[in-house]
Amino acid sequence: MDFGNFGTVSFTKQAKVMPFIDYLSQGKVMTTQCKHCGRKFFPPRQDCPYCLSSDVEWFEIKSKGKLLTYTTVNYGPSGFEDVSPYTLGIVEFSEGVRVLARISKKIAPKDIKVGMELKVVPVKLSDEKLSYDFET
């Protein structure tokens, strides 16, 4: 399991932040926090540019966050022909991070509103690849 198993189309296999994939396979969306200065990061990162420290700890994003914005993409890039249309959103979580992901197709497009509460949920895509969606 590596980043090659992540997302509809993936471009990178290896990274120091591999625990992200391990946690995702265990059903958790986790990200990192610098142990020195306490800054929280998303996307997860192994290195803090403020402390030059690589000492980070992982925490789970499990709150219900607020949808800041969204768009339904009718024409996706290569590799997304079979999943279009899909809706991308950015959600702000009380853990102190913002996350970009797709909004689950379980939610009808007409019910999607800026400000609605959503949580981030790990999902398995049709080809067994790992990802996460926003769900109510």
């Binding site: 996307p43 768009t71 890039p77």
Partner: protein
């Protein structure tokens, strides 16, 4: 007004869906228009800067090839890129090299021949413009990024799809007057509102299109500029900034904070403010981008950008004329060529050469050119 570095010539090719000529020939056309009337020969040029987005180039390392075709060898040439703002990054580099005293006359050429890519290749490139580890796997695209800003602006300020469409109505009108533009048809509000949704809320006519084209800006030190032209256009302020590539890591979804930063630097350097700008070229890759630019450049307060277009204040006879050459929306967007084309328009405005879309007595002009989704903004202020 005076400065230490001036634009002495600016040119561009016609922007078109398929130019039918090679990259070197395209660049020559832009160089020719910029250099004509200057009475310079290759030996007078000190350096060549080439700007484009390399993922659209088939030719690897094109700078030397273009230098060879323009007869500029053995003068130094190099390549630079910040995606869609590569051209103004090239102008900034030229400014810096002249200001430092290293060179006196620099030719900057921006180009893109996007028709060299098949639509399949272009769709593949489109999928790699955001963080390829944490954004691209979800299917992000350039229109999607701007659509997220459009939706957030609508939710926060009540901005409407009709207001966005009115930006295109304006730019389509001015594009109809621009012989270099790809799209020269006037569009009605209905044409735009009835077009296909690409990424909600953005429709087909809210988006600019790929194109082929080249542009050229020739810059010189003050002494050389005065010798070579009666109408030097001075570089008064230069500002640049960079935003996080991950949209989720940014501080705002309703404003491009990096543009505000770049504008602040440029205004401070010029000793001018938004109220001093007579005419502006802003990066309208999408209609929402022009609205955000009104606000981020200080032409309107946050949330009041839509009112500027509603009141037609950004037409050539309005309070702050913007993109009265048709903008990217009408001209088309040959990535590396766009910044130089914007500079060319401002140079022509300040020289009083724009004909029907001439802004009366324009003395100070601003160029705002952005790479990516608000990622690499450059703001350059010019004066005559």
């Amino acid at each position: 007004m005076k400065g230490e570095v001036a634009v002495i010539g600016a040119g561009q090719t016609v922007f078109t869906r398929n130019c039918g000529v090679s990259v070197r020939e395209l660049c020559f056309e832009a160089y020719k228009e910029a250099a004509e009337g200057l009475n310079i020969s290759p030996k007078d040029v000190d350096a060549l800067i080439i700007a484009s987005a390399p993922e659209y180039d088939k030719q690897r390392t094109p700078a030397a090839l273009i230098s060879e075709y323009l007869g500029l060898t053995p003068k130094p040439a190099f390549y630079i890129e910040t995606v869609c703002s590569s051209g103004t990054t090239g102008v900034k580099m030229a400014y810096s090299l002249i200001k430092s005293g290293l060179h006196d006359i620099i030719v900057m050429i921006g180009f893109q021949k996007m028709s060299e890519l098949t639509s399949r290749e272009a769709a593949e490139v489109m999928g790699r413009g955001d963080d390829t580890m944490f954004s691209s796997p979800f299917g992000t695209t350039m229109p999607a990024g701007h659509a997220l800003y459009a939706r957030a602006h609508m939710a926060k300020y009540g901005t409407t799809a009709e207001q966005l469409a009115k930006v295109r109505v304006k730019n389509a009108y001015y594009g109809s007057l621009n012989s270099k533009a790809t799209y020269r048809k006037v569009l009605s509000l209905e044409d735009i509102m009835n077009s296909d949704v690409i990424c909600s809320p953005l429709k087909k006519f809210d988006c600019c299109a790929n194109a082929d084209g080249a542009s050229c800006v020739i810059l010189a030190s003050a002494d050389k500029a005065r010798k070579l032209t009666d109408k030097p256009i001075w570089v008064l302020g230069v500002g640049s900034a960079t935003a996080e590539l991950n949209w989720s890591a940014r501080g705002s979804s309703t404003s491009f904070l990096a543009t505000k930063e770049a504008a602040k630097t440029a205004y401070e350097m010029a000793g001018l403010g938004p109220e001093d700008i007579d005419v502006a070229e802003v990066h309208d890759c999408f209609t929402i981008s022009e609205i955000l630019a009104y606000e981020d450049l200080g032409f309107a307060k946050p949330g009041e950008g839509p009112k500027l277009i509603e009141d037609k204040e950004t037409y050539h006879d309005g309070k702050i004329p913007v993109n009265v050459d048709g903008g990217l929306l009408s001209k088309g967007h040959p990535i590396g060529a766009t910044g130089g084309s914007q500079v060319r328009t401002i140079v022509r405005q300040l020289r009083g050469e724009m004909g029907e879309s001439q802004v009366k007595d324009a003395k100070v002009g601003l160029v705002h050119n952005v790479g990516g989704t608000g990622t690499y903004p450059n703001v350059i202020i010019f004066g005559r």
